[in-house]
Symmetry: C2
C-alpha cells in the first residue's frame, strides 16, 4: 500500500518557494483612464498600439520598465457603445483574465478610487488569500480594510445590508472580480483603494465623488508610486 | 480631396457575407451541469479531460460532431471554494471569452433556465444586435422576449424597477454577460431560456424553482435539440 500523499507539506513547500521569489513583473488593473494617466507618465510607460488583446476590444495597455520591474498597466478603455470608461465587474474580470494570460505577472495590483464608510478615512489595502503585506502597509502607513464590490455607483439597500454584514469599509466596482480571477489563476493580488466619498455621510454620492476625485486621484498615484518603489527588488516574503 | 469613405456600405457587405455563411461551429454556454448533461448525452459529446483552459479553472468542456455541426458545450463547473455551480455574470463572461478564443465559434447559444414574469409563460428567445432568428422562432413556436440579468436568485427592489423599466419578461443570471462578450468579440448570439418560476407570482422563489426545475430542464433540452436540428445545414440568413 502506498503511503498517504502529504498534500499539506507539498503546498507549504510551494508557498515557501513563491515567497522567496523576487517580484519582477507587476500587472496593474485600473478602471479609469484618469486614474491611470499620471502613473503612465510617472513610470514612463508606452501605449501598446499593436494590441496583444483580441481585435476590436477597447482595452488599453501601457508597458515598460521602471527600476528593476517590468510594469503593465491595463484599463478597460471606453465602452464601444456608450463611450464611457468600462467600469464594473464583467469588464474587470475579462481584462484581468486576458492580461494574466498574456503577461504572466508575478503580482496583480488593482488600484483605483472607491467609496468609503465613516469608520474609514483615506486608504484601504486588502490582500486576499495567501498574500498579505504587513511590511508594505507599515512602511507606507496604509490602512488595511475589507473591500466590498458592487456594479452600481450608488448603493441599494440590499447592497448596504450585505456590506455591513461583511464588515466592509470600502466599496468599489471591480475589486471582487479581480480577486475572483486572481484566485482562479493563482496569482497574488493587492488592492489599493483611495476613498472618494463617504457613502454613509450626508452629501449625495455623485456630488461628493466629483468634488473629491481630483484630490483623491493625486493621492492614489502618490501611494501607488510608493508601493512600486517599495516592491522593487523585494520578494513576496519581504512585502 | 478623397471621397468620403462609405462605411455603411462596407458594413452592409460584411453582414451580407456573414449571413450567407453556413453555420458549422456552435458554442453552448450553459451555467448548470444538470442543464447540460441531457444535451451531452443527446449529442453524444465527450468531456475534454486534457482541458484547453488554464490549469486549475473549474470550467468543463464537452465536444463532438452532431450531424454537420461541430458542437462545444461549456459549463462554469463547480466553484473551487464553495463546490456549487459557478453561476453569475463574472464566471459566465470569463467562460464565454475563453471559449470564443479557443473554439472560434460561428454562433453562441446561451441556454438555461430563467425566472419569468406573469406576462410570459414558457420560453424566451432573445437575439441581440445584428442577428435575430425569425424563421427559427416561427418554426419552433418559440416566444421572443426581453431578457434581464442579475447576480442574485431572488429579486431586490432596485432590480425589479430596472427590469420593469426595460420591459423585460425573463430574468436570468448570465445572459447579459454572455451578450457583452459576444458583442465585444463580434460573435452572433442567441438566448434560449426556459422559465422555472414566475417571479411576480405568489410562491416563494426558491420553492417554485426546485418544484419546476426538473420539468423545465426537460423542456429546455427538447427545445435545444430542435434548435440544433433546425440550425444544422443552414446559413445565418435562413435562421
Amino acid at each position: 500500500m502506498a503511503p498517504p500523499h502529504d498534500e499539506k507539506a507539498e503546498i507549504q513547500v510551494n508557498e515557501d518557494s513563491i515567497s522567496q521569489r523576487s517580484i519582477s513583473n507587476v500587472l496593474f488593473i485600473i478602471a479609469m483612464q484618469t486614474e491611470a494617466s499620471p502613473l503612465v507618465n510617472k513610470f514612463q510607460l508606452t501605449e501598446d498600439l499593436d494590441s496583444v488583446f483580441p481585435k476590436g476590444v477597447p482595452w488599453v495597455r501601457y508597458h515598460g520598465k521602471y527600476k528593476d520591474l517590468s510594469i503593465n498597466i491595463v484599463c478597460p478603455g471606453k465602452d464601444n457603445t456608450l463611450g464611457v470608461d468600462g467600469v464594473g465587474t464583467v469588464s474587470a474580470s475579462l481584462l484581468t483574465y486576458a492580461s494574466v494570460q498574456a503577461f504572466q505577472p508575478d503580482i496583480i495590483i488593482n488600484a483605483g478610487t472607491a467609496g468609503g464608510f465613516k469608520v474609514f478615512d483615506l486608504y484601504g489595502v486588502g490582500s486576499r488569500q495567501a498574500f498579505y503585506t504587513p511590511n508594505l502597509a507599515k512602511e507606507l502607513s496604509l490602512k488595511v480594510g475589507k473591500l466590498s464590490t458592487g456594479d452600481s455607483l450608488d448603493m441599494s439597500t440590499v447592497d448596504e445590508t450585505a456590506i455591513h454584514a461583511n464588515d466592509a469599509t470600502v466599496k468599489d466596482m471591480e475589486g471582487a472580480a479581480v480577486a475572483y480571477v486572481a484566485d482562479l489563476l493563482k496569482v497574488p493580488v493587492i488592492f489599493l483603494k483611495a476613498v472618494t466619498d463617504i457613502i454613509d455621510g450626508d452629501k449625495p454620492t455623485a456630488e461628493e465623488f466629483l468634488q473629491n476625485l481630483a484630490a483623491v486621484t493625486l493621492a492614489l498615484d502618490q501611494t501607488v508610486t510608493q508601493v512600486v518603489d517599495f516592491i522593487n527588488g523585494k520578494s513576496f516574503s519581504e512585502i
